[in-house]
Every structure is written in structure tokens, then in C-alpha cells.
């Protein structure tokens, strides 16, 4: 490869996170415009609501995870250094949570959600979304705890930490402000984006499973519409099945973009979002040398 070729490629790819954020927004905008023209209005409205609900749930999970991850991460450090007797049971409990696969834990959380809906404890759709987000964050926040412990351990080895202690700065302030806020924001942002991606995947999967497997037990009208739930609808599944037939017969390909738009759009939003989130996350790693 020539030098000039390499240089311009490198310049183009320098800020991959921003580039992929732009690609994500542009892709979704183009899809939205296409759907506005060719998808029937009720389906389009459902799709918009589902995307919005999934995004809101993702943001809520990130928020809950940061709060829980930060507090648990810092607390575990202080327990290790000041209350070693409590540190063992604390990490023991965390490891037990870690040993439960996310999907199993979240499914149990959804059973509780169903009971709460049946007993009319959770009535508004937003409160149900908050519950879903809380349940998911319970099983993903440990990644942030690990990161926070890793960052504290990294700075603990450096002279900077001891020097600050000698200057009379409180340990809590050094950790929360100097280490985590001032020197780990890029790491935290990277992890938050990863958690957002994991959440979208887990939420779509669990909603799909609940809608497919428990549809006789759970009234879907009670659950907030999400991308996974919408994909599990019979017409969406038929649209997805049509992808297979269009692969075997190219003449059917055209119908994917008009007749089977609902299912294809949902599948595209899920896959495209997961890809873009991964790329944004990788771009951040590259930009900040994480």
C-alpha cells in the first residue's frame, strides 16, 4: 500500500467513534424516512415507540449501573482496606450474582414483574420500564465494579496516590474525584457504551422470549412495547421468515423492502444498533488508547 493511501485512510479512520455515531444516526434516519413512506402508519408508530422504549430502558440501565457500580466498587475497596472481615462475604455475594447467567436472572426478574403487574402494583408503562431496567442492571453492573476496582488498583501502585495522601487529601476524595472522575472518565464512558449495547441485546432477547414462550400467560398489552416484543409478533416473524425465501429466490428480494418492512426494519434496527455501538466502543478504545 502506498504512503498516501495509508495516510488518507488513517485520517479518515482517526475518530472512529464519532464516525460510527454519525453512521448510526444516519442509518436510523434513512430507515425512518423509508418507513414513513412505505410502512403502514400503525406499524410505524409501534416501531417508533418500541425503539424509544428500548433506548430509554438502555439509558436507564446505564444510569442504574453507574450508580450501583460506582458505589459498590468504591465500597468494596474501603471494605478491603478497612473492614477485611466484611470484605469476604461482600465479594462472595457479588460472585454469586456473577455466577448467575444474565438471562436467567433477568427472566426471574420478569416473573416478578408479571406478578407486580397482575397485582396492579406497577401500573404505568414507565414504571414497568424502570423495573425492567433495574433488573437488567442488577446483572450487568458488575462489569463497572470490576473496572472501578481495576482503576483504583492501577493508581494505588503509583506515587501519585501516596503523595496525595501525604498532602492530607482524604482517600475518598482521591478515589472519587482524582482517580475515577478526572482520570477514568474515558474508561467509564467506554464501559457505559458497552453496557448500553449489552442491554439492547438482553432486553430484545428477553422480550422476544417472554412474548413467544409466555404469551398465553402474560398479556402483552400490559408490557411496554419494545423491539424484542414487536419482533415476536406473528407478522414480524413472517417478515423475518421472508428473508430466507428471498435468499433462495432473488425475485422475492424486492418484497422485503415493501411488503415485509415491519419485521425487516426491527431486525435491522437491532443488528445495526448493536454493530454501531460495538464500533463506537472500539473507536473510543483506539482514540483514548484504553
Amino acid at each position: 500500500m502506498s504512503r498516501s493511501t495509508h495516510n488518507s485512510s488513517a485520517a479518515w479512520c482517526q475518530q472512529k467513534d464519532r464516525l460510527w455515531l454519525l453512521i448510526w444516526i444516519s442509518g436510523l434516519t434513512v430507515l425512518g424516512m423509508w418507513d414513513a413512506v412505505f410502512l403502514n402508519q400503525p406499524s410505524f408508530a409501534l416501531l417508533r415507540t418500541a425503539f424509544l422504549n428500548s433506548t430509554v430502558a438502555g439509558v436507564l440501565v446505564v444510569g442504574f449501573s453507574v450508580v450501583m457500580g460506582w458505589s459498590v466498587g468504591v465500597s468494596s475497596y474501603f471494605l478491603e482496606t478497612r473492614r477485611p472481615a466484611l470484605y469476604f462475604p461482600f465479594t462472595f455475594l457479588l460472585n454469586v450474582v456473577r455466577s448467575i447467567p444474565q438471562i436467567v436472572g433477568i427472566l426471574v426478574g420478569y416473573i416478578v414483574l408479571t406478578i407486580l403487574i397482575e397485582q396492579e402494583v406497577l401500573r404505568s408503562q414507565f414504571s414497568q420500564l424502570v423495573w425492567m431496567a433495574f433488573v437488567i442492571s442488577m446483572f450487568v453492573f458488575l462489569e463497572l465494579v470490576d473496572l472501578i476496582r481495576e482503576r483504583i488498583a492501577h493508581y494505588n501502585k503509583l506515587d501519585f496516590f501516596q503523595a496525595m495522601l501525604c498532602c492530607g487529601i482524604k482517600e475518598g476524595r482521591i478515589i472519587n474525584r482524582e482517580i475515577l472522575w478526572k482520570n477514568s472518565r474515558a474508561h467509564l464512558l467506554h464501559k457505559m457504551i458497552s453496557i448500553f449495547g449489552i442491554t439492547i441485546f438482553l432486553q430484545c432477547s428477553i422480550d422476544f422470549i417472554v412474548s413467544v414462550g409466555l404469551s398465553t400467560d402474560v398479556s402483552l398489552s400490559n408490557f411496554p412495547v419494545t423491539l424484542g416484543g414487536l419482533l415476536a409478533k406473528l407478522d414480524s416473524k413472517q417478515d423475518i421468515l421472508a428473508i430466507g425465501s428471498s435468499l433462495s429466490s432473488m425475485s422475492n428480494m424486492q418484497s422485503l423492502f415493501f411488503e415485509h418492512l415491519q419485521g425487516v426494519s426491527i431486525a435491522f434496527v437491532i443488528v445495526f444498533s448493536l454493530l454501531c455501538i460495538y464500533k463506537i466502543s472500539s473507536g473510543l478504545v483506539k482514540r483514548y488508547h484504553l
Partner: protein
Amino acid sequence: MKTKLIEHTLSILLVTCVFLILITFLKREEERRAATSRSSIEPYLQIDSLDFGNPLHTALFKETLTLFHPDSPAQNDSLLRSIEAYRQEQFTNQINKTGGEERGVSPAKLAKLGNMYAQFILVYIVVMILSYRAAQSLAIFRFVRMKQHKGSYFGELYDLVKNRRAKQREPSLSMRAGALFARAILKGFSYAVLFAPAYVIAYSIRSSINTDSYFFMILLGVISNGLLINYANKFFTFLVTEDRKGYVQTAIVKNLSNSYTWGTTDGVSYWALLRPNSLFGSHVFKHIYLNARYQFLTTLKEHASFLITGLIIIEMALNIQGHLGYEMLQNILYKQYDVVVSIILGVFLIVKATDIAVDAWFHWESRKYENKV
């Protein structure tokens, strides 16, 4: 290692005890609930002349109840609803269906679950081995491309088109552009498959392929749900981190090969993608790889949890009958929570067994690094 083993054993014992207590409690609660609901309506069900399937009989029964208990209409309605629910259950309850089993955890149920559990473990081990190797291959391929300073295919295509005037005499220009475009499309398609949830892939090809086979399940387990790409990314990060370390520069100064051209004697052969451990000779990458792999071992624990999540999603979303995930979903549907808890306990034990195996492997590798083996 001893401390870790103690921690794992304690964790298994504690969680098993808690789950067993929960299973017993749920089983008793289920029996109590069934007995209570039956006892309140039992006297009325014994009346031979009364057919609750007949609307006239039901209306007469309701009027009789109102005559006898005029002050408690809600209680009367509740009794009628209980009778109706009981009758409905006679048709919908799994136990009353052909081939139905006893509700809750029973020896027969445990034997059935044990068979499914063994199949699940087998699939899990195969997917674990395949994804572990495939993630390394993918990461090495990406790393070598990075060392070759290659960007995206579309980037290369853009540069090629941009500089076409300078190269217009080159006859193979259009062919190269075509090849780059085809590669970019192929890469895009691969990404779509790698990031697609398993159920999207399975439903999209269900009309032409049997998606319920073991082979397909293993294939989906390895490639879908973003599992492989994210796991490969972890190994790639370790490779890049190792590559930045000082010993790599020292090794290059000491004349170890540092060429990343494919297929040359001092470069990297394509076989290295499949058998990275045995094929780098005096190449500096051998040391980068070994050090990255050492750190990568511990991520297997995290990977195990994601992998099980992926497998359960596949079994549940595709409704693959006779598999553990599907069975769990069915038991949630029939509210047999003691069976659900038993399955969760089984899944927990798989994760713990993986944790112990990975810790033992890491300990053994560490001893090698410390020259104790």
C-alpha cells in the same frame, strides 16, 4: 488456589442449600395452594345433580347461594369463579393432558431434567472450545491486519478511487476496486451475522434449513448474539496491550522477526490463525501471543456466563423442545417454580464448575511462568 477453591466450594454449598430450601418451600406451597383451593369448592363439586357446564345449573346455583348468603355477594362470586377456574384447569392443566406428569419436582422429572442437563453440558463444552479458538483466530487476523496498516475495505476503495488518476495506467485497477468492494460487502454481511441475535438468524433461514438440530444450535451458539466478535475483541485488546510493552522492542532489537506479511518465511503464515501456539518460530508475535493468552484465560469465566445466556436464548426463542431452556420456559408458563429453581441451580453449577476449571488452568499456567512446573 486453595483460597479460591474454598471460596468456590463455599459458594456452591451455600447456594445449593438456599436453592434446596427454596425448592422444598415452593413444592409445599404448591401442594398447600392446591389443597386449599380444592377444599373450599369440594362440597359443591360433590353434588351429582349439578352440572357446572350447564349455564342454567350455574345460574340456579348462583341464585341459591344468594338466597343462603344474601349479605356476602362478593364471596359468592369468588366461589363461582373458583369453581370455574377449577373446571378450566381440568382442560388446561399439563398434568391432565395425554402424557402429562406429576406437578413439581419428582424422581421422573429429575431423570428427564438430568438427560436434558447432560445434553446442555455437551453443547456448552463444544461451543466453549470452538468459540475460544475462533475468538483467538479472529483477533489474530485483526491484529495482523492492523500491523499491516490496513484500514477498512471501503477506506481502501475510497483511496483507490481518489488516486485513480495517478494509477490510471494500471490495468488491474478496476479488478482491484471490484475485489475490494466484494470484500467490503462480505465483511458487512459477516458483521450482520455476528451481531444478529440467534433468533433473527434462525427465523430468517427457518423456511429452508432445519434449525432444531444440534449442529445448527452449536453453530448459532458460536457465531450469533455478538458472542464471538466481543470475545475476539477482548483477545485483540490483550494483543494490542502486549504489543505496546517494552519487551517487544527489545525482542525486535535482538533480531526476532517482526514482519507481518502473510505467507512469507519471516512473516505470518495463514496456519497461524488456526494453530497460533505452534507456528510463530522466532517471530516476536509468539511472545505477544503467549502473554496475551495468559491474561485471556481468566476471561473464560466471564465468557461462560455470556455463552450460557446465548444458549438459553437459542433454546427458548426457537422453542427447541426437549432442551433445558425450553423446559424452563414451559415450567414458568405452568407456574412450576420448584422445577424452574432446580434448572437455575443446575445452570449455576455449570458456571461454578467452569470457574473452578479456569482457576485451576490459570494456576497451572502461572506456575509455568514462575518456573515451578
